[in-house]
């Protein structure tokens, strides 16, 4: 069997090696994972990890050495998880049938550096899976059309499934995707007039609980399966189609510039609406009361728009934080997110 197909093994000498020093995961955001692992594999830990680069079969891992290898891999997966965030974003979009070819150039640098690091750690299976996935992406780039669909989409997703199997810590999407999807789905539905708890319950009970299902559904399907009024079903479909058109029109880039700009615009709008709401709250006239009622709805709609955008970026934890805050603090938190996002979504070298 070829050495690359085997999991890397540790030499006897590695048994006495101390734990690898902690690596600052945050600092790796903008750097290369290969560099980080190169550091781990050279200078200070040279002696301990040198054996990892020996051909398979040179030594057999036993006892504590095996545990150390596990730690290294776990650390690698931890770093990789952060590093391939854009790849996960891409695949989530692809699963929702929304991905465009711009994603290829966004994902490629992260995939290449991960590939280099995997090679140094002699993770042969991972290297092959990464190669296959990257080949699929490059092929998609040369396909006619802007969106990635059909067989190409299916092939890329199949390659990705293999990556998830090999390194679930970095590539598994289930939790991430479900959390994002739940927020997006509910926020879009609640933006439709007349959609309240009854409709939400009926939609979910009928299995219309994924974005993919909603993007494919027709008003007739929704009305027939849920029993909601045809007009409401029509409005739901229109809302999801508008969302899809918006996503497609927002060509992604590595720094998620357009998404961040959209959130910034929405935050400014929310601030204006909130200020107007506060002014109406101070007044005592009947007109002011009516205006306040209207502004409450308007403000809620904008907040739902923001929720959709943040969920698309995978900022579900941030959303949970924001939900618990009063409106004024929500705005502050959103502004602080926009500040943080400038560094977080910095383009990887």
């Amino acid at each position: 069997m070829a050495a690359a197909a085997q999991p890397p093994v540790l030499a006897e000498s590695a048994k006495v090696m101390s734990r690898p020093p902690p690596v600052e995961v945050e600092r790796s955001n903008g750097g290369s994972i290969a560099d980080t692992f190169e550091r781990l594999l050279s200078s200070e830990l040279e002696a301990g990890f040198a054996s990892m680069q020996q051909p398979a079969g040179a030594a057999i891992a036993r006892g504590g050495a095996g545990a150390d290898l596990g730690e290294v891999r776990s650390l690698f997966a931890q770093l990789a998880a952060n590093h391939v965030r854009s790849v996960r974003d891409f695949v989530i979009d692809l699963r929702w049938s929304d991905a465009t070819v711009e994603w290829v150039s966004i994902c490629s640098p992260a995939l290449q550096s991960l590939r280099r690091a995997a090679e140094k750690l002699e993770l042969g299976d991972l290297c092959r899976a990464l190669d296959k996935f990257s080949e699929g992406l490059l092929a998609a780039q040369s396909d006619p059309g802007h969106a990635i669909g059909g067989e190409r989409r299916a092939a890329i997703l199949a390659c990705y499934d293999e990556l998830s199997r090999l390194m679930p810590q970095a590539f598994a999407l289930d939790m991430d995707q479900t959390q994002r999807e739940t927020v997006i789905l509910q926020s879009l539905l609640l933006q439709v007039p007349d959609v309240k708890k009854v409709t939400l319950d009926k939609m979910y009970a009928a299995g219309l609980s994924t974005l993919e299902a909603m993007l494919l559904a027709t008003p007739e399907d929704i009305a027939a399966t849920t029993g909601v009024a045809e007009l409401t079903a029509q409005r739901i479909v229109e809302r999801f189609r508008a969302y899809r058109a918006h996503v497609k029109a927002t060509a992604p880039d590595a720094a998620r510039t357009r998404e961040r700009q959209h959130i910034a615009d929405l935050t400014s709008r929310l601030k204006r609406e909130h200020d107007a709401y506060e002014r109406s709250s101070q007044a005592w006239s009947r007109e002011a009361a009516e205006q306040k009622k209207e502004l409450r709805k308007v403000r809620a709609q904008t907040l739902l728009d923001i929720q959709v955008e943040l969920a698309r970026l995978g900022e579900v934890d941030r959303l949970n934080q924001i939900e618990r805050l009063p409106f004024e603090a929500k705005l502050t938190e959103l502004e602080s997110f926009l500040e943080d996002a400038r560094d977080k979504y910095m383009v990887q070298p």
């Binding site: 708890k197 939900e323 618990r324 009063p326």
Partner: protein, 397 residues
Amino acid sequence: MPELTADLVLKKIKIGEKVDRADLRGLVLTRAVLEGASFRRCDLDGANLEGARLSKALFKNASLREAFLAGADLREANLESADLEGANLLGAKLVGANLNRANLEGANLQGADLSGARLTHAQLESATLGGARLVRAELAHADLSETDLSTAKLDEADLTSTDLSGANLEEASLARAQLRDAVLRGATLIRADLSGADLRRANLTGARLEGALFTGARVRSLVGTGAPVVGIRAEWVDDSEDASRAVRVTGPQIAALLSGMTPSSPSHKRYFGRGDVLRNAHLEFDTGAAVEIESLFEHCTIALGEGTELVVGRGGVLSGCQIQGAGRVTIHGKFVEREGPGIVGATQLVVSSEGFLVGAIEQAQDLTRFAFEPGCYLRVQILQAKKERTTKSGRQS
């Protein structure tokens, strides 16, 4: 910045000290144990009390605007006259709580349990109460306008004189609820359960009642929807002044009564029972009469006075007949014309889900109001009133 830290608040409460009138804005006390604590007149705007144990706590006159109280246990808490505008009480337990005169405008109470809570004169405008439990809650004189109460449980709740204008009560359960003098203008009551509810003098103008259950509801002096009511479910309703069930209204009269488009007690009633067959007859019914046909009529002419109610019951078959005059016609059975138009000048025509109508309808001078329930069988040609047709074509007289 709050006047006291969370730790200090917890310490004070632990030794039984009150924290009344304190400035506690934005304080985070998630899942804190604060049972029976006194926060009277405190400023807790924007505080986070998620999952906190606050049963029997005192919040009288406290300000909790935009506070986050999701999942909090507030059973039997005193929140009288508290300001909870925009607060999030998702799934909170408020069983037996005192919320009289509290301000809950725009608050989120989805899935909250308010069974037996007191909310008289409370302000709940635009609040979200979808799926909330309000069984036997006291809500008299509360402002519930534009609230979302879809699928909420309001059985035996006291909603006397409440303002439910524009409220969404879709699939809500209001069995035996008190809704006397309530304003339900423009409310949605689709598939709501109002069995045994007291709706005397309630205002239902513009309300949507499709699929709602009204059996045993007390309906005396209510203001109807102002539009034909179709698809309601009711075996009988009580039209007595004192809700004694002495005056039971059944059949299509119920829909007419809820629509407010017919007097509740017609002066003359005529019933043609099952098994009877009438052929080639000419029948005339005076203004205000009520006629129900469960028989087989063949080649008959039926003349209706103004406002006369004609109901073709489920067993009724009118074959080759003609109905004339400014009456209101409801078809649960079958009507098949021989020569058109089969119905001439009716002011209202309702065909229920089991109804079967084949024929031409010549509308009344002021146009006929139509209501066709899903499931009915129709093969219909609708014509303008004769005079109109004469004017347009200049030929037919």
